[in-house]
Amino acid sequence: MPTSKTSRKAGVVRKNGSAKKTTTAATKRTVTKKPSAAADALRGGTSLAKAKPEALIQALLQLGNAVLDDRDAFNGVMRILGDTAADHDLRNKVLSSVQGLTFDPVRFAPHRPAYMKTLRALRTDANSELRQRAFGLLARENDPDTQAMLISGLEDAGKAMLPPEKALQLLSYDPHAGAYAVAHKIEQAPPNPLARREALRVLAADAGSVKLFEQVLGDKSESTEVRQLAASALNHLAPKRMQDTARGMAMDPTESDEIKTLCLTALANFGDPEVLAQDTELQAQVERYQGDADDASSLKLAAANLKQRYT
């Protein structure tokens, strides 16, 4: 049974050479008294099945981080999470609470094996929200088995536990996940536009995809959002080539104002000032944009920003 305990922390503030001992509200901390019924419920002393969801959540909230000092209570929390018969809403709320506990990594560490085991079990849960969250949490841990499941699901839709765009998003957390090959396949033959966009995001860390991003950026039939993504990726992977491409597109009268604005902004933020200062052709074009565009237009603003860079 947890016991109530009070701790006190005194602060010492030095001012004008004299030491002054202060006790403030912030430094005087009282740990919430742990309700025995809540702890009992979480430990399984009270049957979890019989406990009301609201009471369990309340118990968990009351315990706060103290649940990390009580292995039985923590295991009870894991049982609620893994209980497929339990209320989905309850399990989602419990998962949120446990996520909060991970922000105390030192105290959480002893429970990590049980937590990981529970999350892995949730990957095949019937509830899609829980399933997706479990995949997300494991992907952030670079869990090898989870990465393998995600790639396997992308290779074979029959094995997929998540939509392809979500799986790609989770794989993008780890550049070592080995997802570039499957991302290329999906980029070539996407099941939906979102999946293609996420495939491009994965490839934004692949140094071998520079040509792909040059093509996408230069393709006027692509959506502005995808071309912006390509510009960002190209600037990340090959900044010099992005500068050349951006210059060409900024000068292209057939380009949309959005893309021209994007290119001028890229040149203003990442361009080589010396090169820009010598580029009279570009400078003349920037002057025209400043003169022609509406006062409130983004293009005019981007042109003004770029001009500041070389003047």
Partner: protein, 510 residues
Amino acid sequence: MDAAELPWTQAHFCAEVASAASGTSRTRHLVLLLQEEHPAYAQCSSAEVSRRRGWVLVELGNMPLESEAVPLVLEELETGLVPYLLAAAARALRQAETPLPGFAPVVLRALETLARRDDLVDLGVWGGMAQDDSARPALDEVFQTLRWLGPHMRWIRTGLIVLDQGPTALATEHRLALQDVLRGLPDGSAGEGASCCDLPLPWRRHVPVVSGAHVDMVRFEDQDGAPLSWRECFVGQPTVVAFFYTRCDNEQKCSLTITKVAQLQRLLQAAGLEQTVHIAAITYDPDFDLPPRLRGYASSRGLIPGLQCRLLRATQGREALQRFFASGVNFVGSLVNRHRIEVFVLDAEGRIAASYQRLGWDPKQVVLDLRALPRPEADPRVNPAGTVVRSTPVLWAFLLALLPKCPICGAAYLSVTGLAALPHLPGWLSAWPAFALLLLTNLAAIGWADRRKRRWASLVWSVFGTALIVGAGLALGQDSAIWLGIACMAIGSAVAVLRASPRKASTRQV
């Protein structure tokens, strides 16, 4: 990449491990399978590499651990982050004939790592992924190995006390086990942290392997974007070479390596050696590690780049570079999926004099290695005599071409010997447009001559040779392509000469 599409499938790998473990020289074969550059790891994700290496380590744990395999097991415990691999390595280490004092700090390191990121593992299944309640925390295996160390645990007494009482996290059973271990230790910490716990030098410092790779064609770009040749980087002064890449997610490897290189830089300055020794940190990931990234990575780790200390990305001849250093690295796409720690000491001629691999290296030891190197006569980059020596092939080419002969033969000699000597010419890289122009002029001349005779064999050979030299040779750094290209151009020139000769003879008859 799908596991079924990998160059080595899982089934192939498992069969190979089973075969290695059941035949003669079991340890040697398993150690070969643990080499990072082994084709079994090509195009695997890092996770798949871990699963495969774990499978081999588990097999090593089923037999007496021979000396040859000990550095690989210790490397995993010292720098590993994956619970499955740490557990497998801990079990394998217990198969050593006797525990050594040097094992103790390495086991402590594994304990500290797993105290932050423990997981349930089952060493009996592929990947160690827990299938049921039979799986145990990886820390269990490491604690068993800790107890196996017996009296040698006293060398890490302070570290164990910190683990027990400090802000680290251990489950109750592990904390109790640790306290039990500490109670059993004799009082005092005499000798702790001293040279008692150094691992045998042969496990850390290796005899240089002469690979025979031709690295003259390797080209680099440094942290400021300046192009450099192999000779400019590595000939003239001794060099310490360390490999790294900025996207490495193991802080015990690349990040620590560059931090130690910075320590080495300070040690060299303190010893007054900073102007006589070069430092070169070469990235494994040259496509991504562009100059600004190299600069940032160095400065955030206290390394100050300059003329004597460069961070390099290979722009040409990457394969030759890997062959020369026998690099322990493999890739998925262009990204590293696994590598070992690699630090080399090169003499003033650019030959490997010593190397430190896998296990932690000591910058002080590297300074001792540098002091033990024979002193270079002089830096050929600033010595005219040295320039003459390095330019000898160029001089030979000119002399050969100037020997009395017909103009066509002279052109052929100049063409072939000039190309062969090209890499020996100092600063030739910056003059590449002129060489390209000469190549084109050569092709145009042969084309013009062939057009007059309406016979194209000579031009075909020359075009093919030029394509090999410029494409596979200079652009991709393949030495063999350059020599093959030169041979093709020589054949082209010979065909032109042979075709011209009878006509000349017939003219004389007339």
